[in-house]
């Protein structure tokens, strides 16, 4: 079963977190380690980090189909910072990974306990049998 784990982060200031170097390094090391763990467990399908929201554009098709872009969105409180797609044996395992990610260290090493949205990825049709 495949799941996507979406890490939504609160918008802070200009986007880039302003933490002490030690804390920032601990956070980055933690994330790299999670990635390594999931790879070694044979569970990682893909993982990507997204650019900061100041790079984001909202695009709509204009009348003739040309893209109309809209700029930065100061009003949104949360943004998608990154995601993992994992292939695991049970939903409980996906939740356990999400909880690990959620507790990534923040300033002062305190766990951030970020909300991680976990959703099943749609698959092929189920078998007709039992």
């Amino acid at each position: 079963m495949k799941y996507i784990l979406m890490m939504n982060t609160m918008r802070v200031g200009r986007g880039v977190p302003q933490w002490p170097q030690k804390d920032l390094q601990a956070h980055i090391a933690f994330m790299i380690n999670i990635d390594k763990e999931l790879r070694q467990a044979g569970e990682l399908v893909s993982a990507e980090g997204l650019s900061f929201p100041n790079q984001a554009k909202l695009v709509r098709a204009g009348k003739d189909g040309t893209p109309i872009t809209d700029g930065v969105f100061p009003e949104s409180k949360e943004f998608l910072a990154g995601y993992w797609i994992v292939d695991v044996d049970s939903p409980e395992r996906a939740y356990a990974i999400a909880a690990r990610v959620s507790a990534a260290p923040g300033p002062g090493g305190t766990p951030l306990n970020m909300p991680i949205e976990v959703r099943p990825i749609m698959s092929g049709p189920p078998p007709e049998m039992l």
């Binding site: 070694q40 099943p120 049709p125 078998p127």
Partner: protein, 427 residues
């Protein structure tokens, strides 16, 4: 002397893979090392044989190449250790002599199958290892079949091998008693491989390796090794009788077509008659198990030339047996459908109520989908639409979701249309 490479050669190679692996494991007593070596030998054969022809003794060829790889591996490991310790020692690294065996030791394949489907492994690990060690597939092929990166699948297989090593499973033939205890786990793994293949046989993944066919091939192999086991035969029959409907199961836009709407002329007659033959032989033996009964249900459907010819009382009787042999919420659910077809939808709805409190089925889309179907049959369109939509919101399958949403939309149109006075036929 060689034979030219032809369409049967690839099949031959896959057939030989577990025998070669078995032989190497017995010789070197290291499953993990042997497994890697056999994979390399397989790859060598796949590259060389199409050009140079299939050797006279293909099994001997593979055993020799794989043995050489193991020996090389052991040598370089020893060299590495010697470099590290800087101690020059005389080490006897002579590999056991590789005499080319001409007899086919099918017991090795059986031992491997039981080893790979070991209950200590998670089902995804057991599936991956079985496909590689017994099925002779490459890691890349397996990764592609499950739509995960090759590195991820390689890790999964390597972990599975570690688990087997750690569990200390000896490489030996099980007693018939041990085998009886372990067989359900083996059949379950084969069943899961088939389901995975059957489920993914539509949609954007047509280029993927055909796991349903692989599962049938592996189960055929298990059937040949355990010819007297009625459940192995039952599982093979179930796969064939289900796979027979594959071409009719989807429409031109890859939409799901339910059993009662399928063009039955598209069903594979050869698979159906083979399945029925296997099942008939299996049922004449003493024990009746889960897979034989499921196969029997599939056979009743496959034998009906038209939907209305379906022998529903027979299906109902089979589900009553299944409820005794292997009780579970999915069996109850299917039993309710059969009861509705025999005794009317009200009876089916009544039986479904017993499942409302079943925690194993809580929030499962199938319960809502079946309820919607039966509500439509009694003519309660409004409730039927609601349950079709609940089911659509709960399934994790896109084709199933499209199907359920379409059912709700169809009823909604019908309800607001001019001819909404006619009673709903069986959908």
């Amino acid at each position: 002397m060689t034979k030219p490479w032809d369409s049967t050669s690839e099949h031959l190679l896959r057939e030989l893979a577990p025998q070669v692996l078995g032989s190497i494991v017995r010789r070197f007593c290291d499953f993990s090392l042997a497994e890697d070596a056999v994979q390399e030998a397989m790859i060598a054969a796949f590259t060389q044989w199409p050009q140079e022809g299939v050797p006279d003794n293909p099994r001997g060829w593979l055993i020799q190449v794989a043995s050489r790889r193991v020996t090389d591996q052991v040598r370089s490991e020893i060299a590495r250790r010697e470099r590290e310790t800087a101690v020059a020692r005389e080490v006897d690294i002579t590999a056991p002599s590789v005499e080319i065996e001409s007899d086919v030791d099918s017991d090795d394949t059986l031992i491997l199958l039981f080893m790979c489907c070991h209950p200590a492994l998670t089902s995804s690990s057991a599936i991956a290892l079985t496909l590689r060690a017994v099925g002779g597939l490459t890691t890349a092929e397996i990764a592609n079949a499950f739509l995960v990166p090759e590195a991820t699948m390689a890790q999964r297989i390597s972990r599975a091998k570690q688990s087997i090593k750690a569990s200390g499973v000896p490489f030996r033939l099980l007693s018939s008693q041990e085998r009886a205890v372990r067989l359900p786990a083996v059949l379950h793994v084969l069943y899961l491989i088939f389901n995975e293949g059957y489920a993914s046989s539509i949609g954007p993944h047509l280029q993927r390796l055909d796991l349903a066919r692989e599962a049938i091939r592996l189960t055929r192999c298990a059937k040949a090794l355990l010819p007297d086991d009625a459940e192995v035969a039952g599982l093979l029959a179930l796969m064939l009788l289900t796979d027979a409907r594959r071409a009719a199961r989807t429409g031109p836009d890859e939409e799901l077509i339910p059993l009662d709407k399928q063009d039955r002329t598209l069903w594979d007659r050869a698979e159906i008659s083979e399945g029925i033959g296997l099942l008939t032989a299996a049922l004449s033996k003493a024990s009746v198990g889960l897979y034989q009964l499921q196969a029997a249900v599939a056979a009743v459907h496959d034998e009906a030339a038209r939907t209305e010819d379906t022998d529903w009382p027979q299906v109902l009787a089979l589900y009553e047996l299944l409820k005794r042999v292997s009780p579970g919420p999915m069996v109850t659910l299917n039993h309710a459908i059969a009861a509705a077809m025999v005794h009317g939808p009200a009876k089916g709805l009544e039986l479904l109520r017993a499942l409302d409190t079943d925690a194993r089925l809580a929030g499962h889309y199938r319960l809502d989908a079946v309820r919607a179907h039966l509500l439509e049959m009694v003519g309660d369109y409004e409730s039927a639409i609601m349950h079709y939509r609940i089911a659509a919101g709960r399934t994790t399958s896109i084709p199933e979701q499209n199907y359920l949403m379409t059912q709700a939309a169809r009823l909604d149109d019908k309800r607001s249309g001019p001819d909404n006075t006619t009673a709903a036929p069986i959908p």
